[in-house]
């Protein structure tokens, strides 16, 4: 505002001094701060006085007032004139305007302060940023330099690498070259050697000729007397026969050596085969009984049946000492199969053990190691307990044997009494049985006696009956011969007949065949009491006669 004023009002400088004095006084009164602040932008007091007086003087008061009014109205303030009449100043409005202007001024000052603060801040920020910028620039420079340096190194290393590669290639080429040189030199040396050897041979030949040419005058053997050969034989002429014989001998030697070797190999072979078979048997026995899937079973069944067949076959083979390819292959194949099965089995067991070890056991028949240990501990405890029991029992026994006499005697007595009672009971039983047996025996003897009597009677009856028969028969044929036949003769004849009955009983069949039915009836009657059961008619008779024999 000050600036503006200076532009517009240099003409009125002399006039406006007073008003300016006035206003500046007014202004100075309210606040010292304001005035201090005011001092800064505004020119100095001297200048201010002159400045204030420059605008409004006594002459141009109205002009200046109207000018001020115009300015104020353009600024939006209410006019300082009274509305109804012109040229009268509205002091209230003037004061209001002044107040407003002051307020504006304050505001502006504050704004200015703020702006200045911001300005300062921005300035410091700017400085800070400039510093940062400078530092970053430096860093950038540094890193650029570093990069450059590293690139340089990289380039150097690459070039070194290339050089080394090159060197390596060179070395390899050299090696190749040297090898070629070596081989070429070797061939050259060989060639030279051969040439020299040929020369040498030629020399030798020459020398040989010379030596031979000398006709052995010097070369001689002087022996006092010839010595016999070591084996006493005379020397033999060299002929084709001898040559052939030599060949023969040589072949004989070779053959004998081969035969020996073959024998050894056969023996070894047989031993190895035996070992293999044993191994196979053991493997089969080691393998668990195949109780798993039927598929496996079929396989195993096949396999199991195979070895048995094989064993049978091989046993046969071995007996004949054959060693054909197929048998050998069979044996080895079957052993391989068994071995594989065994391996699988062992692997399974291992897995189970490891699983059991880790604590997870799915199958029932897997006993984890801990359980196993527990079991063993339990068993050990049990064993201990049993041992202790045994000890105590032994002690008790000892006590029994060596404890107080009374108690032992008592005990013994008790035992004895028990035993005696038992024995008595048994005796009683025994006696009863004995009585029964006696009774039975008596009854049996009576029965036997009776039986004997009856038998005797029967015999007598039979005898008489037979006698009658016989008599009647012989009466037809022969009268005189067999009349005087008492029962004894009849018996004797019967006895004879019985003795002869062992042999084909064709003699007696004739006369006695007529009465088989009747006799059999009678005999069956009798034999009901006798112990022997009669069957046929003929044996009945013989049985009867047997009885008779016994009784006699």
């Amino acid at each position: 505002m000050g600036d503006w004023k200076t532009i517009t009002v240099p003409v009125l400088s002399s006039d406006s001094k007073n008003i300016f004095q006035y206003t500046s006084e007014r202004k100075r009164s309210p606040t010292s701060m304001n005035s201090q602040v005011l001092r800064l932008p505004l020119p100095s007091s001297k200048n201010m006085h002159s400045f204030f007086s420059a605008f409004c003087t006594e002459e141009n008061i109205e002009q200046s007032i109207s000018y001020i009014d115009r300015e104020l109205t353009t600024l939006g303030f209410p006019s300082i004139y009274v509305e109804s009449k012109g040229k009268e100043l509205n002091i209230i409005s003037i004061i209001n305007c002044m107040n407003e202007l002051l307020a504006l001024q304050h505001k502006n000052l504050r704004a200015q302060e703020e702006v200045e603060m911001q300005h300062l801040k921005l300035g410091s920020d700017m400085d800070h940023l400039q510093n940062c910028y400078a530092k970053l620039k430096e860093q950038l420079e540094l890193s650029k330099r570093e990069i450059v340096g590293l690139q340089e190194r990289d380039r150097q290393l690459q070039s070194k690498n290339r050089n080394l590669h090159q060197l390596l290639k060179n070395e390899k080429d050299e090696v190749q070259k040297l090898q070629n040189i070596i081989s070429s030199r070797a061939t050259q040396y060989n060639h030279d050697m051969k040439r020299k050897e040929r020369e040498y041979n030629k020399l030798k030949e020459r020398l040989h000729q010379l030596v031979m040419n000398k006709k052995d005058k010097k070369i001689a053997m002087e022996v006092l007397n010839y010595v016999g050969r070591a084996d006493g034989k005379r020397g033999a002429w060299r002929t084709d026969k001898t040559e052939a014989r030599n060949e023969e001998e040589m072949y004989k030697v070779l053959l004998s050596d081969y035969e020996q070797r073959q024998k050894q190999l056969l023996v070894e072979n047989a031993e190895l085969k035996k070992v293999l078979q044993q191994m196979k048997k053991e493997i089969i026995s080691l393998l668990p009984p195949q109780k798993q899937k039927p598929k496996e079973r079929s396989e195993d069944g096949l396999v199991l049946s195979d070895p048995e067949e094989d064993i049978g076959e091989l046993n046969k083979e071995n007996m004949w000492e054959l060693s054909c390819e197929t048998v050998r292959e069979q044996l080895t194949n079957s052993i391989r199969k068994q071995w594989r099965m065994l391996k699988n089995h062992v692997e399974k067991l291992d897995n189970q053990v490891s699983r059991g070890h880790s604590g997870a056991w799915n199958e029932k028949d897997v006993i984890s190691r801990e359980d196993h240990e527990l079991e063993t501990e339990k068993l050990e405890l049990e064993i201990q307990q049993c041992k202790e029991m045994i000890k105590t029992q032994q002690q008790l026994l000892q006590q029994q044997l060596t404890c107080d006499d009374d108690t032992t005697l008592l005990l013994q007595d008790c035992y004895l009494l028990e035993e005696r009672e038992r024995l008595q009971e048994e005796w009683r039983l025994f006696r009863e049985q004995k009585k029964n047996f006696e009774k039975e025996r008596r009854s049996f003897t009576e029965a036997a006696i009776r039986l004997g009597l009856e038998r005797k009677a029967f015999e007598e009856d039979r005898g008489t009956w037979l006698k009658q028969q016989f008599l009647s028969m012989t009466a037809d044929c022969k009268h005189s011969e067999n009349v005087t036949t008492p029962s004894s003769d009849q018996d004797n004849w019967l006895v004879k007949s019985t003795s002869q009955q062992r042999k084909p009983p064709s003699v007696l069949n004739g006369p006695v065949s007529a009465e088989p039915c009747q006799t059999s009836q009678y005999i069956t009657h009798n034999s009901a009491e006798s112990k022997k059961i009669a069957g046929d008619s003929m044996p009945n008779l013989w049985v009867e006669s047997d009885d008779k024999e016994e009784t006699e």
């Binding site: 040929r198 070369i219 053997m221 002087e222 022996v223 010595v227 070591a230 060299r238």
Partner: protein, 425 residues
């Protein structure tokens, strides 16, 4: 029998009593008994003369003069009645017969380490020949010296041949420039050939096992490879490293210690025995703890026949052990168990080993290192035996008696016989 300059002295083996003395015409260079121990041949290479003496008849004499042909080697035939002389430059081998007046010639023999070998039963002889820059082998029947077989070998430069103890297989190997071993049967067929590697130096030594089951090949790469007689393929390889780390090997180390002097016993003038014992050092074996590192020598690279590789191979008589010596580690003898194919024992000596030989009857090994001690090893243990006597007796080589009861120890100028007591069972 021993020779001293011109004289041949024959002694009794059990008592060392002199039995006969013969004089020869010149200094004797080589001496050999005939197989039936009735004759001794003395070869004088310089003069080209071989003289034969008889034990039964001291008056009997025989002289074979090679004359201008010269003499390089001489040996008996297995029947003890023929002498094979190799003339100079290996021009030919002359077979002189003591029974008849016949002379046979074998042309073009090869001058190699082992060119003429006889089978163990003395029936056949194999001779290595070289004609037109090619190697051949001829097999002769010893009874009438008839040529049985003649075949060529696939070797570049045949170095040696050796019969198997069963007399049916002949092993022939190439020179050290190439590793190649060929196996021929008695009738000349090639049974098999073995080649372990191509370029480095090859076979150094070869030994058959007494049962002909194994063939041990020692090579310049410090390894021994064992072939079996059924397939002629390698069964195993034995290595000779400088450090022994396996716990199952026993390492015996020869340790020297000077005897302590008992001051009370000293009296002046000291007796001879005491003096000698004062200055002589005793040595005994100590068992070293595994791992043991042995003295390893790297040979000079630009010389021919370098001292590296397995130079000595010997099987024991019962086929159970193999003794080897690695020339890179010249102080040690390695004993391998053939039944288990493992290293059993290592004997570490103080000086390089000069000679080792197995007892022909028992599994006993005797070795000498050029000192005055002979070392014996058996599965029961090992010991060092000092040769008693004054002065130094540097044992250079030794040789067992065929009964295994005694052995001869040779030094440069002297020899002595060592008798071994048999344990009363």
């Amino acid at each position: 029998a021993s020779c001293v300059q011109h004289c041949l002295v024959v002694r009794d083996a059990s008592s060392l009593q002199v039995r006969q003395i013969y004089t020869c015409l010149d200094q004797i260079q080589y001496l050999e008994w005939s197989s039936d121990s009735l004759f001794i041949l003395c070869a004088m290479y310089k003069r080209g003369i071989v003289q034969v003496w008889s034990l039964e008849q001291p008056d009997w004499h025989c002289k074979i003069d090679e004359g201008s042909a010269g003499l390089v080697a001489s040996c008996w035939s297995p029947d003890g009645r023929h002498i094979l002389n190799t003339t100079e430059f290996h021009l030919r081998i002359t077979v002189w017969s003591l029974c008849t007046k016949s002379v046979s010639y074998i042309k073009y023999p090869k001058s190699c380490q082992q060119g003429v070998v006889f089978t163990k039963d003395g029936r056949y002889m194999a001779v290595a020949e070289r004609r037109d820059c090619k190697d051949f082998i001829s097999i002769f029947v010893c009874s009438n010296w008839q040529l049985l077989r003649h075949f060529d070998t696939e070797t570049q430069d045949l170095f040696g041949i050796e019969w198997a103890p069963n007399g049916c297989v002949l092993a022939a190997w190439d020179s050290c420039l190439e590793y190649k071993l060929l196996l021929y049967s008695l009738d000349g067929r090639l049974l098999s050939s073995y080649r372990a590697y191509e370029w480095p130096l090859g076979i150094k030594s070869v030994a058959w096992s007494p049962s002909s089951q194994f063939l041990a090949i020692g090579s310049f790469d410090e390894k021994v490879r064992i072939l079996n007689h059924v397939t002629w393929r390698k069964v195993t390889e034995f290595e000779h490293p400088a450090t022994i780390a396996s716990k199952k090997t026993i390492v015996y180390k020869e340790v020297e210690k000077s005897p302590s002097v008992e001051t009370e016993r000293l009296f002046f003038p000291p007796t001879r025995a005491l003096a000698s014992s004062l200055f002589s050092t005793q040595s005994k074996y100590e068992i070293s703890q595994v791992p043991v590192s042995l003295q390893y020598i790297k040979p000079v690279a630009d010389r021919a026949n370098p001292k590296m590789g397995v130079g000595m191979l010997a099987f024991s008589a019962d086929n159970c052990f193999l003794a080897t010596k690695n020339d890179n580690i010249p102080n040690a003898v390695w004993i391998w168990d053939i039944r288990k194919l493992k290293l059993l024992v290592v004997l570490e000596q103080l000086c390089p080993i000069q000679c080792l030989q197995w007892d022909p009857r028992q599994p006993r090994l005797a070795l000498c290192t050029g000192t005055s001690r002979v070392f014996l090893w058996s599965p029961a243990g090992c010991m060092a035996v000092q040769v008693p006597g004054e002065g130094d007796f540097q044992i250079v080589s030794l040789s067992w008696h065929s009964s295994g009861d005694s052995m001869v120890l040779l030094s440069k100028d002297n020899f002595c016989v060592c008798y071994l007591e048999r344990e009363e069972v």
